[in-house]
Structure formats: C-alpha cells, structure tokens
C-alpha cells in the first residue's frame, strides 16, 4: 500500500506492506534509529514520536494510520548545531543514564509543553507517567522537564 506522510519536515510517499508499523517504517525504511523499541505493545513508550503534535507509540500504529500525518522524531527535533532546549535540559539535569528511553521521554515532554506551556509538577507526573525509564528513578527526568518549563519562555 502507498503511504504519504511528512517525517521531520520532509514529505515522503512510500510503498509498504499493510502490516508495517510506524516504528518499522521509521527505523527500517528510513533508518531513523533514534526511535527505540522494547515492549512492542504500546506500554513502555521507548518508541514515542509525535504525530500531528500528539505523542504516540509508533510500535502500535500502522503506517496506514499515519497517512497524511506530520511526524516528528528525535532526529527532527535535534537542531543542526547543538541541542533543542528540552534535550539540553535533560543533559544538564542528569535526566538520562543509559539513554535508551531518552528520545521517547524528550518527545513526550515536547508534546506536554506544546499542549501546556506551564504544567504543574502533578501535571508533569501524570503526563510523563506513561513512559518507562529503568535507570533514573524518574527524579532526573522530572527535574529536566521542570527546568525546560522554566526555560520555556526563551523558545516557543
């Protein structure tokens, strides 16, 4: 089947088997390895990307479901030079250790901040509660998102 979608600002038209997930499309067809896989059942959030601005588990979404969508992955968030302020906040606040959940966490934080520019701590915890991290105990991630909220005014 043919799927047309925009990935990181580039519009693509691809022939894919109907069973192709968005995760397969990103990783295997487009070589965008920043999107990670673990549970393959939509639970862990390692494969989180933004589709039309909303955070989705790309492992649980068929390519056909994102026909016409605007998809943002970690590669698209990362500027040519340096890092996006959310990424920088994760670095500065020890919001990552092994780094495997990090792209998904950062994109989830981006979706949150786009939706709600000044979330409370409780709102952050509820929103970010869907993604699994095994290293940090989440404290560093919470500090990172809170730092990014504070920095929010400097970017938009």
């Amino acid at each position: 089947m043919n799927v047309t979608l925009t990935v990181n600002g580039e519009t693509l038209s691809l022939d894919v088997p109907p069973s192709t997930t968005l995760l397969d499309l990103l990783r295997d067809r487009l070589g965008l390895h920043g999107t990670k896989e673990y549970c393959h059942s939509g639970v862990c959030g390692a494969c989180t990307v933004l589709a039309n601005g909303r955070a989705v588990s790309s492992c649980s979404m068929l390519a056909g479901q994102v026909d016409g969508a605007d998809v943002l992955t970690i590669e698209g968030l990362t500027p040519d030079e340096g890092l996006h302020p959310i990424q920088q906040a994760f670095v500065d606040n020890f919001g990552l250790q092994c780094g495997y959940c990090t792209p998904g966490m950062i994109l989830l934080a981006k979706a949150l901040l786009d939706e709600n520019p000044s979330p409370t701590r409780e709102e952050i915890i509820r929103y970010m509660g869907g993604n699994i991290c095994r290293c940090t105990g989440y404290a560093g991630i919470l500090r990172s998102v809170e730092a990014a909220v504070k920095e929010r005014r400097s970017w938009s």
Binding site: H33, Y38, Q97, C98, R134, G140
Partner: protein, 775 residues
C-alpha cells in the same frame, strides 16, 4: 628517576558533570545493539520449548529448511556433527548446551535456531520446526526441587568456579557455609531468640535495550557484537567452544542490571553463524527476555539470639536461591552474597548456609545486588520485630550493633571506612525521622517510617579472570586515549574514568578520549558487575598513567635535550621545571611530543586484588571483598487501609562512596536504584500457573515503576576517601536498590503494626495482613 610523577591534582574528580555521551544520547545519536548491522547478515529466530521440563523425542526441521529464504536450521544434530564445536558452555557453571540435547529444562529453553534472509521468514520458518516432547515432571520451585524423590533437573554437575560445590544426587547445585564464633554457645547466652522466614518471588530486570547479538566468522576468526556485560569472559568462552580466536565488541548498552551479565545467546548464535556461513543477527523480544534471565526466587530462614539490650549474640540463617534450569550465573551470585548475609552488624557467633537450587524456571542472574537486597530485607525486618518486642528505639538498636572501623567481619576481613553509623544518621535525618507523621483525618490512610542498613561486597577476586587492566596512550594531536574493558551501560563509567585519567595526568577532559569494551582494542577486564568498575578500573587507569609518565618524560628529555629529572608535567605538555620558558625551547606540548616521536606512547596498568590486608595491629587479614559499601535507607510510606495500596512517599539513602568522583552522578545512581526497587517491593512479580507456564511475560501484564510511583528522594553519601581506591573512591552502583525494601517493609510495619514476611506488598496481601491483625 622521575622528579615529576605528575601533578596529581584533583580538578575533575569531585566535580558533578553530565556523562560525556549525554548530548548524543539526548539527540538519539547513540547506537545500541538493535541499531547495528553487518553486511550480508542473516537473521535468527529461536525455537523455544513450550514446556518447563521434557525429553526431546525428535526434531523435524525439514519443512523449515525447505522454506524459501531459509539459510539453515541449527539443532542438536548439527552441533553433534561438528567436531570443532563444544556442546556445553558456561564460564561459571558449565551446564548449558548450545541447543537442547536430550531434554529441555525450562519454558523458553533453546531447542533450535532458524536462520533466514529476513526476520519475517525466520519467524515463519520457526513455526514449522516440529519438535516432539515427552513431558517430564517439573520442579517449579525450591520446595518441590528439594522434596524427597524429586526429579533431577541435571543428572550431573559441572561447576567451573572453584568455590561452587554441588550436592550429588539432589537439585542443590551449590551449598556453602560461612561463619564465625560458636553459634550454639551464642544462642545459649541469648536472652531471647527470634525466628522468621522471608521470601521474595522472581522478577525480571526489564532493561529496555533488548539483549541482542551479531556473530560473524571470517578467516578463522569470530567477531561478536553484543550488549553482554562480560566481554572478556565471553570471548574466552567463544574461543574454547569454537577453537578459534574471538573478538567481542560491546556498543553502548541500554541498561542490564545483571540480566546481561552472563552469556545465554552469544555462543548459540555463533554456532548458527558458523552453520550459516554468514553473519547472523538475533534480537530477543521483550517476552523472550523473561525466559532468558530472571531474578531468582528467594527464601531465608533466620534465627537470631539477642541480649535484653538488643545486642545480637548469635545468628543462624539459611537461604535458598532458585537458579532455574541452568546455573551459568545464579549459583555463584548466590554464593557471593554469603559474605554479606549477616548484615553490617557485630555478630560474634554466626553461621550462614547458602543453597543454590536447580528448578525448571528460566535461569537466574544477579539483579542490581540481589540477593543482598533480600538478605537486607530479611535481617532488617526481623530487627524491627526484635526492637518492637524489646521496646528499644529502632535507630538505637541499630546503633548498638552496627560495625565500626576495626571490627572483624564474618569473613575475617578487617573493616575500614565503614561509616555505617554516619549513613544511618544521615538517612534518618534526610526524611525528617523525628518529625510528626501526617495524620489522615478520616483515619483511612496510615503513615509510617522505616529504616534499613546494609553492607555490600564487590566481586573479589574476579576468580575466573583476576586481571583488571587499562591502557592509556598518548596519540595524535596530544589526545590521551584511555582504553578500558568497562561496559558503558548507562552508569557513567566513561565519564568517571575520564575524570580519573584527567586528574592523574593533570590534563583537561578535552584531552581525554575513552575507548571502551572491545576485546581487541582494550586490555583484559573481568566484567561490568558488582559495583566494581570505579574502584578496579579506576585504579588500573591511574596505574597506566603512572607507567606512561616515565615514557613521556624520557621522550621529552631526548627532544628537549634536558635531564628527565628536571622536567615537569603541565596541563599542555612537558616543560623544564626551573622556570625555563618556552622561549628557550624547553617545553613540548603533548601533541608535539607524539608527533616528533612519530608513534603513540602507551602503557598499561593493572589492578591486582585479593591477597591479604596488613592490619594496623600488625596482623594479616583475608580480603573477601576489596571494598565494602555500607548504606542506610529511611523511607516513609502511606498505607491505604481500604484498598491495601502502599505508596512510598519519601525515600532517603545514604551510602559510603569513598571520594565522590562525580557527586551528582552518585546521587542519581541512588535515586535510580531506589526507584527501580520500588517495583519488586510493591508490585512486580513473575507468576507461573500450575502447569509451569509463565503467565505474565508481557509488559501488558507486568507493571513497572513509573513517574507516578516515584517517591521524594533524598540521596546522600559519606565521602571519606577510601585508602587504596583511585583518588579514594569505591563503588556504589547497586546500593540504592539493595537497601530499599527493608526500609519499606519496616515503614509498613510502623504504619500498620503488621510485619510482612514477603514482598511484593500487593494490596490484597496488605488487606489480608490488616484483617489478620484485627482478629
């Protein structure tokens, strides 16, 4: 000869800094195993046993082999047919066949490997492999395995590590004892004796980076890419099995927590690659990781004799660790924890018995310090029962028993840099131990606080491979390449080694480049486990720099035509000491030095551990652990008496770290350990049905801690320099998880008056406990 042994100033050590690779990780640019490819590679799917215990009657792979796109199918027949392939592996306990030979020993045991051009074909063909089984009675837990007449999981035992001692004719693959004093006399002297039994079920590590391997055999040499935590022992095992040289390359690893500490897929996929005649890639699914390595089921029967004032005079405890179908990892990790099973307390008369027992569960592996975690929960929970019974304050009873420097541990070790008292006071203070607890006006939610203290060993000596080496080389452009076997698994090892190397050389971080965990590019190291790297690899790095400095001085001496003894190291290079400036040419930068020598200058350093410790009293003491990490945790919980739900509100942990090389990294390691252990303490467990089938191997049925279960953390550390450690540092990566459950169990006891003897503290268990107490 060296006037200058280097500035050795500490400018990087002691600074909090994000990991060197953090920006690349935040950008998603780091490649993990699942991101790697090798030209021409084929893909594997493993045919796994659906039964926990069965004899293999026949395997028919003809249909699978006939499928277009299938390269080959590896079964016991192909392994038998190859005279240059040993059938059984395991570098601690040699009991795991590459593929099942006569029988399968756990659900998910490896029966065959299908190799195909692509993953989909391999998966489809794997469905076509027809295996006929004759089901055998299964022993699904330790009591069943120890029962009279129980079926034996293995008929023979093949321990490799010398300390492992099976009991023939049983399922006990290892039994060992440790002790001191006279236990019978100790109990006779006791005013009171307490006996308890504590249990904990298996859980899985759930490292998000799935265990994976690519194996390639080319020109009589094996190259394996894997996210295993033990590259050098694995390489040696591959060389033994396949009788050819093997190189093991470990990329960045997305967590392991012990699940990748031993080989379970590397050797078998290499056998498949040999048969296929091309590189083979294999990535476990999340479900398969639950049948590959798990944290073992644990049981501890503990008897403690105390005086009226709470002083412990005797302890006997026996613990049983369920190693599952293969002892390739679990037996030795159980044995190692004998050293700490009595806790951080002065116990004059003690005996501990360790039993590692085969069952038909998946193989077990360490889990961030386990079983020390469960030992700690057991002796700490019993300690609170004793304190309550004797009417002694819970902190005070610990103060009366905690070890101090100069005490002799149950292993015979002379303890130093213990600081266990400081940890206890710090942790208690950090959660506001003496402040009044919030009271729920409706009386439905109960608050309580608990504390727990622990002692943790490190792998000493690394018996199967006692070498721990590093190489430091001055290479082009004046960069110091630090070559280490330590696997970067997310713990921040590259950064800590760069800090140590930078200070040892007196240069900045930008002059350091880390090369890690490639057995052909770095010298030997035993493993990245047991909180050992900062100490062992750090020491090896310091020694390598010490060995490199004379070479650099000698080279500079010739270039500058000055006596080596008159030269000193500067952050940029080597210069004449007596104030001679660059004007007269008596200085050379590191970049110029290596350029003018025309080749890199390199030196190795070793960290040799073991032997005896010369005590300040003039006597010699054994070294059962190169260093001991002490820690305390204080936790506050809220128990909902209507739903039975337990919430950890606050958790403080304080650990002895020696010099804190990267303080904020230490704090985040403590947070991470605590946060991870919330799961097994409150709600994680693997469940088998009566037919021996694991029923919750998928994440949909297996909840993990999330940001919503996160407590308020208060990480602390006691950073008195540890003599012998690199810049005074020692290890601490596992200690946060080790010390949490005891504090939580005790906090629930404080809140409810119910002492739970098993984790996880599931809501229905809590309700049952509350109801039983009410009756």
């Amino acid at each position: 000869m060296c006037a200058a042994t280097g500035p050795n100033v500490t400018r990087l050590v002691g600074q909090s800094m994000p990991s060197l690779e953090a920006p690349d990780k935040a950008a998603g640019r780091i490649e993990y195993m699942a991101d790697l490819t090798v030209p021409g590679m084929a893909h594997a799917k493993v045919v796994r046993s659906p039964l926990p215990h069965a004899r293999i009657v026949s395997i028919d792979a003809s249909e699978a082999r006939a499928m277009p796109g299938v390269v080959c199918v590896l079964t016991r027949d192909e392994v038998h047919a190859d005279p240059d392939m040993e059938e059984v592996y395991g570098f601690v306990y040699r009991d795991a066949p590459l593929v099942a030979m006569d029988k399968v020993r756990h659900q998910g045991d490896i029966v065959a490997v299908v190799v195909a051009d692509d993953v989909d074909t391999a998966e489809a063909a794997a469905e076509l492999v027809d295996v006929e089984y004759e089901e055998l009675p299964a022993v699904m837990n330790v009591p069943q395995a120890l029962a009279e007449g129980a079926v034996q999981v293995h008929e023979e035992f093949f321990p490799i590590a010398p300390e492992l001692r099976p009991i023939e004719g049983t399922n006990v693959c290892h039994h060992a004892t440790i002790g001191c004093g006279d236990v019978d006399q100790g109990f006779a002297e006791a005013d009171f004796v307490y006996e308890d039994e504590f249990t904990a079920p298996p859980v899985q590590h759930c490292a998000l980076d799935l265990h994976a391997v690519i194996s390639q055999i080319e020109d009589g040499k094996i190259t394996v890419w894997t996210n295993c935590q033990s590259p050098f022992p694995l390489g040696r095992e591959l060389e033994r099995i396949f009788k050819m040289p093997a190189r093991v390359i470990i990329p960045y690893v997305g967590g392991g927590f012990g699940s990748k500490s031993r080989d379970r897929i590397e050797c078998v996929i290499t056998a498949a690659a040999k048969l296929a005649g091309r590189p083979v890639r294999y990535v476990l699914t999340q479900e398969e990781t639950f049948m590959t390595f798990i944290r073992p089921a644990y049981r501890n029967r503990m008897r403690t004799g105390v005086k009226k004032d709470g002083t412990i005079v005797a302890r006997h405890n026996e613990f049983w660790v369920d190693v599952g179908g293969y002892a390739i990892s679990g037996a030795r990790s159980a044995n190692n924890t004998l050293k700490v099973a009595t806790g951080p307390y002065r116990i004059p008369n003690a005996r501990v018995d360790c039993y590692a027992v085969y069952t038909n569960k998946p193989p077990s592996s360490p889990y961030r310090g386990l079983p020390t975690t469960q030992h700690t929960m057991s002796y700490e929970a019993q300690f609170d029962r004793i304190a309550r019974d004797l009417g002694i304050d819970r902190l005070e009873i610990r103060r009366r028993n905690l070890v101090r420097d100069g005490d002799i541990h149950v292993t015979g070790d002379y303890l130093r840099s213990a600081h266990s008292h400081e940890c206890l006071e710090q942790a208690a203070e950090a959660i506001g131990w003496d402040e009044p607890l919030p009271v729920d006006p409706e009386g439905k939610k109960l608050r309580g606080r608990g504390v727990s203290c622990t002692i943790k060993y490190t792998l000493t000596p690394a018996r199967e491979m006692s070498e721990n080496s590093a190489e430091v080389a001055l290479v082009e452009e004046g960069v110091f390449e630090v070559r280490i076997g330590t696997v970067n698994i997310g713990q921040g090892s590259d950064t800590v080694m760069a800090q140590i190397a930078g200070d040892a050389l007196g240069v900045g971080l930008d002059a350091i480049r880390i090369v890690h965990s490639d057995t052909y590019r770095v010298p030997v190291d035993s493993s990245t486990t047991a909180s050992r790297s900062t100490y062992h690899m750090g020491r090896a790095v310091v020694e390598a720099t010490d060995n490199l400095k004379p070479q650099m001085l000698e080279a500079a001496s010739q270039l500058l035509e000055r006596e080596a003894a008159s030269l000193v190291f500067t952050p940029d290079g080597i210069a004449q000491a007596d104030g001679a400036s660059e004007d007269d040419g008596a200085a050379v930068t590191y970049g110029e030095l290596v350029e003018r020598v025309g080749a890199p200058l390199a030196a190795t350093g070793d960290c040799v551990v073991g032997g005896m410790y010369a005590g300040p009293d003039g006597r010699s003491y054994p070294i059962a652990s190169t260093f001991w990490t002490f820690a305390s945790c204080a936790a506050e919980v809220e128990v909902d008496t209507e739903t039975g739900t337990v919430r950890v509100v606050k958790a403080a942990a304080s650990a002895t770290t020696g010099t804190a090389v990267n303080p904020h990294s230490i704090e985040t390691q403590l947070e991470g350990g605590i946060g991870q252990e919330i799961g097994p303490t409150l709600f994680e467990q693997l469940v088998w049905d009566d037919g021996g089938q694991l029923i919750n191997a998928a994440l949909l049925d297996y909840p993990l801690p999330t940001m919503e279960t996160m407590p308020d953390y208060a990480p602390r550390y006691v950073d008195h320099p540890f003599e012998g450690g690199p810049f005074g540092a020692k290890g601490m990566g596992e200690i946060g998880s080790v010390v949490l459950p005891g504090a939580v169990v005790n906090a629930v006891y404080d809140a409810t008056g119910v002492l739970f003897h098993e984790v996880p503290l599931l809501p229905h268990k809590v309700i049952e406990g509350l109801e039983a107490r009410a009756e």
